[in-house]
């Protein structure tokens, strides 16, 4: 019994060492010394959990039974690693960018965050992994039994060893697997521990191999000769199984939950992958190098009927090498424990994220929950899941009796998890893959696997009735579980692999082709298929100073520097740091996020803080939320902008209206004062003379006549003024009716000249005309036009100050206009007055004040009504006016 105690002591010491390593690594991670934790070599070694106890013990057994076939299980993953540029590089990047936590999470995220798919993959993984965990427990138990006296076979399943191993592993996994709830699901302690275990198992196997080759067989050449001489001596392999298992193991390498955990989830940067690409195939090669020599030597030296699965232990024991046997035991123990730990972590993440949490959240729906609350629930559910997974493994082991060949269980599990492959590969390489397709493929593959391989593996009559296995369900031989459609391949495994993966892929492709993807699914698909790297790996919160500065800069930009500084100062004080930047603790980040959310919206704030602290890519959901917020803000600001534009337009209109009113008021005042002045002058003379006539006695007849005619003249002047005003107001209001008739320009001018010069016959101005140019026919208001001409001519007569006044009237045609110029030889209008002569009551001087100063204003109104224009021509010697009329009203006389 002492050997058993020794084994127990060694195992406990070994586990304590692992505890120490894991604890040390976690401590190092927390204090920021992560460089060596993320070293590529650690990553590469952690991948060795692919080599479980199944490999450690079972490979030799498999070699002894089936020859070289065991190699395929390592060749497949080697090819996957060598082809890292094809698949792994992309997978790892997607994992980092999308914060993927498990293979179920990847499938679920890719297909539009479908929880149904997540649950499906989780169940598949649990069912596929449970026997595998049972296998590890079994191998540890068997290996312990090797050292003790042989235990009767029936009692093997009841051994307490398996239970204690399971319990111990559960404790270890709970402690290091759920220590922290990192968004990236990285476990530095666990990864470090399994890297150490990788070294232990490789050392153990290589040491044994060296002992066998050089110690027992006498060198390489002798070993090769021994191999050739043994029953494995000739190259014989089942082609189908060689090809099929190689593919199967390659697929399982990508899909196994524990492999996905170390390959993708624990991956931190591309450098790790680049090293693993060549180093891991080397590791696998070293692990499998001595398998055949050990198997051959074991077959040679050990008695007939010895279990080849335990050659690794029994061979050195039979040679009296207890120390080597203990090392081999440790190697096997390492293989088993590392696999169980990582598998339990991976499965608990899936179970908790895809089954427990959704259920819990649904139950809690409607009640307000605090974030710390959820965190505790997640941790608790993880811990319970780990215990549950190990319990399941133990139960499977205890119930199955633990006597199946190791390799067989392993391959059954491989085939089960390989069902994820079509959805996984389609998800990262084919944008057209849809949720429906993935669901159909997984369902088809999973059910065929259950029906053709998993359930029959329990033996006829256990789950499936023996009659089904023999003749198919209800006698349908085409549906016999081990020979679907009458094809059996002569091999259960190949049969199951072929049909499950074929129908899985067909259902996946068909389902994808005949279904439509939701928008979220399409976005996720695009992101996954065209995954680009997010530069270097995610930055850790450990680079605290740099991050705090970044956060400060960002916050200043959003809140303004005063407020940002006040906030950071307050938080630093709360953390007990005086005069420094606060450390980016979760509490501080929460406060900061809340503050920022007030300015930029919750989703944007989360994305911004996440970008700086997590370094992870922003997911589609984040982006959609950000886009929503941005759209709302843009709409709001667009509305504001439109409103302010309208306001300023209205203000401008009001200002213009106000200006106009002011101008009109000034004009009106000026007009009133003008008009009262104009009316007042004749009125006062009328009043004065009529008073003289009334009051003065003895006026002579001549005087009476003179006064009466003055009164009459002034009254006439008033009448003319009022006529003019009336005329002007009619013209200005546009109420005038034009009386369009035909007439010759010459006649109109004749009439105007004689009318203008009529009252002072003979005296005054000489009018010079060129009658040739005046032969133009006009369709116009002849009366109004001659009124304009009269006004211009009498103005010339009144104001021309030349000694011998002359008025030249010339008619020309230019650019479709008929131009009638009136030019006299006087001194003309002073330049400063030229602007105002067309205004009402504008008189150049009072020297010959004959009119009210309305003539030119009326003339301009008339000409404008007639469609023409009247203007003053400066620098023509004297006063020069030009009346232009549109030609459509003028026609050359026939």
């Amino acid at each position: 019994m002492s050997i058993l105690n020794l084994l127990a002591a060694i195992s406990i010491a070994y586990v304590a060492l692992l505890f120490g390593v894991a604890f040390f690594a976690e401590r190092a991670a927390q204090s920021g010394r992560v460089r060596w934790l993320r070293a590529p070599i650690v990553y590469t070694l952690s991948l060795s959990i692919y080599c479980t106890a199944w490999t450690f013990y079972g490979a030799v057994g498999s070699a002894a039974r089936n020859g070289f076939e065991y190699l395929t299980i390592y060749l497949g993953p080697s090819l996957v690693m060598l082809g890292w540029w094809w698949i792994l590089r992309k997978l790892v990047r997607i994992g980092r960018n999308q914060r993927i936590t498990s293979v179920a999470d990847l499938i679920s995220s890719r297909y539009g965050k479908s929880n149904l798919l997540g649950i499906g993959v989780t169940i598949l993984a649990v069912i596929g992994t449970t026997p595998y965990i049972a296998l590890q427990l079994q191998s540890v138990t068997l290996s312990v039994e090797v050292f003790s006296e042989p235990v009767p076979i029936e009692e093997a399943g009841n051994s307490l060893t398996a239970f204690w191993v399971a319990a111990g592993l559960a404790v270890f996994t709970v402690i290091f697997g759920t220590r922290n709830l990192d968004a990236n699901e990285r476990h530095h302690g666990v990864v470090m521990a399994i890297a150490v275990e990788a070294v232990v198992k490789l050392t153990a196997l290589v040491a044994l191999g060296v002992f066998v080759v050089w110690g027992l067989s006498g060198g390489v050449a002798a070993t090769l000769a021994r191999i050739d001489a043994s029953e494995l001596g000739t190259w014989q392999v089942n082609n189908g199984r060689w090809a099929g298992i190689m593919l199967l193991s390659a697929a399982a390498f990508l899909c196994l939950p524990r492999m996905f955990q170390v390959l993708v989830v624990e991956n931190d940067n591309d450098a790790q992958l680049r090293m693993a690409a060549w180093a891991f195939p080397l590791y696998l090669m070293a692990m499998s190098l001595f398998i055949v020599p050990i198997a051959v030597t074991g077959l040679d030296l050990l008695p007939e009927g010895a279990n080849p699965d335990l050659f690794v232990l029994t061979l050195p024991l039979s040679q009296g090498q207890e120390g080597l046997a203990l090392l081999a035991f440790l190697g096997g123990f390492s293989s088993a424990t590392s696999m169980v730990i990582v598998a339990a972590i991976a499965l608990s993440t899936m179970v908790s994220n895809h089954i427990v949490m959704p259920v819990w959240l649904r139950l809690r729906e409607g009640t307000a929950s605090v974030s710390g609350d959820v965190r505790n629930v997640v941790l608790l559910s993880r811990r319970l899941s780990i215990a549950g997974v190990l319990l399941l493994g133990y139960l499977y082991y205890a119930l199955s009796g633990g006597r199946t060949e190791l390799a067989a269980i392993g391959l059954i599990a491989f085939t089960g998890v390989a069902q994820v492959l079509p959805a996984l590969m389609g998800g990262i390489f084919w944008r057209g893959a849809t949720r429906v397709g993935a669901l159909a493929g997984l369902t088809a593959g999973f059910s065929i696997w259950l029906y053709t391989l998993y359930l029959p593996s329990f033996g006829p009559g256990t789950v499936l009735p023996a009659s089904w296995l023999a003749d198919g369900p209800l006698g349908l031989t085409l549906l016999r579980p081990e020979a679907l459609f009458g094809i059996s391949f002569d091999d259960k495994l190949l049969h199951a692999v072929f049909w499950s993966l074929l129908l899985n892929t067909l259902a996946f492709v068909g389902g994808s082709l005949f279904s439509a993807a939701s928008p979220l699914e399409r976005l996720q698909g695009a992101q996954f298929v065209s995954a680009r790297a997010a530069g270097t790996g995610p930055r850790s919160w450990l680079q605290s100073t740099a991050e705090s500065e970044d956060l400060m800069v960002m916050t200043q930009r959003i809140l303004g520097s005063d407020e940002a500084q006040a906030l950071f100062l307050r938080e630093a004080r709360a953390q007990g740091l005086e005069g420094e930047l606060p450390a980016p603790t979760p509490e501080f980040l929460q406060v900061l996020e809340r503050e920022l959310a007030g300015s930029v919206g919750a989703a944007t704030a989360h994305a911004m803080v996440g970008q700086i602290t997590g370094g992870a890519m922003v997911s589609v959901e984040d982006l959609m939320a950000v886009a929503d917020e941005t759209a709302q803000m843009m709409e709001y600001s667009a509305r504001l902008e439109a409103q302010s534009l309208e306001l300023s337009r209205t203000a401008a209109q009001l200002r213009r209206a106000n200006d106009k009113l002011t101008r009109l008021s000034v004009q009106k005042d000026a007009f009133l004062s003008q008009i009262s002045h104009e009316l007042r002058t004749p009125m006062s003379s009328i009043r004065a003379f009529s008073e003289i006539l009334r009051d003065t006695q003895g006026l002579t007849r001549a005087d009476q006549n003179r006064y009466a005619s003055i009164i009459h003249d002034e009254a006439m002047r008033l009448t003319r003024l009022l006529d003019d005003l009336l005329d002007l107001s009619v013209l200005e209001n546009g109420q005038v009716n034009l009386n369009l008739t035909d007439g010759r320009l010459e006649d109109i001018l004749d009439r105007a000249v004689s009318a203008a010069l009529a009252d002072e016959a003979g005296s005054g101005i000489r009018v010079i005309r060129r009658r040739v140019g005046e032969q133009v026919r006009l369709t116009t208001d002849v009366e109004r036009l001659s009124q304009v001409f009269i006004n211009l001519i009498s103005n010339a007569r009144k104001y021309c100050d030349a000694a011998e006044p002359e008025l030249r009237i010339s008619v020309t045609e230019a650019r479709g206009q008929l131009l009638v110029d009136f030019i006299d030889n006087g001194s003309g209008v002073a330049p400063e007055a030229q602007d105002v002569i067309f205004e009402k009551f504008a008189r150049v001087s009072d020297q010959k004040a004959g009119g009210a100063g309305l003539g030119l204003a009326i003339s301009r109104q008339i000409v404008t009504r007639l469609g023409g224009d009247i203007s003053y021509l400066p620098d023509r010697g004297g006063a020069a006016f030009r009346v232009s009329l549109p030609v459509r009203q003028a026609m050359a006389a026939q």
């Binding site: 070289f68 060749l75 080697s78 540029w85 090769l224 000739t234 060689w242 680049r274 090669m285």
Partner: protein, 97 residues
């Protein structure tokens, strides 16, 4: 100092960059081809049905492990060359570090 006529200034950079990116592309192609090569080589023994005498196991063992070692070393070399090419040259379009 005047340049001798007819000799334009030496312009290495664009040419070199182009050559580097071309070289990198070839390395990537090689990295992609490596697993296919391994696949073919490891399936080759399936055709070995000794016509007159059965193929000895030791020969196959040496063959398979020899290829294994060779592939791993080739992959290591490619990774190293790719790392070097990435450091000097800009990336070909559509590729990331």
């Amino acid at each position: 100092m005047t340049r001798p006529p007819g000799k334009p200034p030496v312009r290495h950079a664009p040419f070199q960059v182009e050559r580097q990116s071309f070289r990198r592309r070839r390395l990537i192609d090689a990295a992609c081809a490596l697993p296919l090569l391994g696949w073919v080589l490891w399936w080759l023994p399936l055709l070995w049905r000794g016509a007159d005498a059965p193929v000895p196991a030791s020969l196959v063992l040496v063959y398979i492990f020899g290829i294994w070692l060779g592939l791993a070393l080739a992959a290591a070399r490619l990774v190293r060359l790719l790392g070097r090419a990435r450091n000097v040259s800009p990336l070909p379009e559509g590729e990331d570090p």
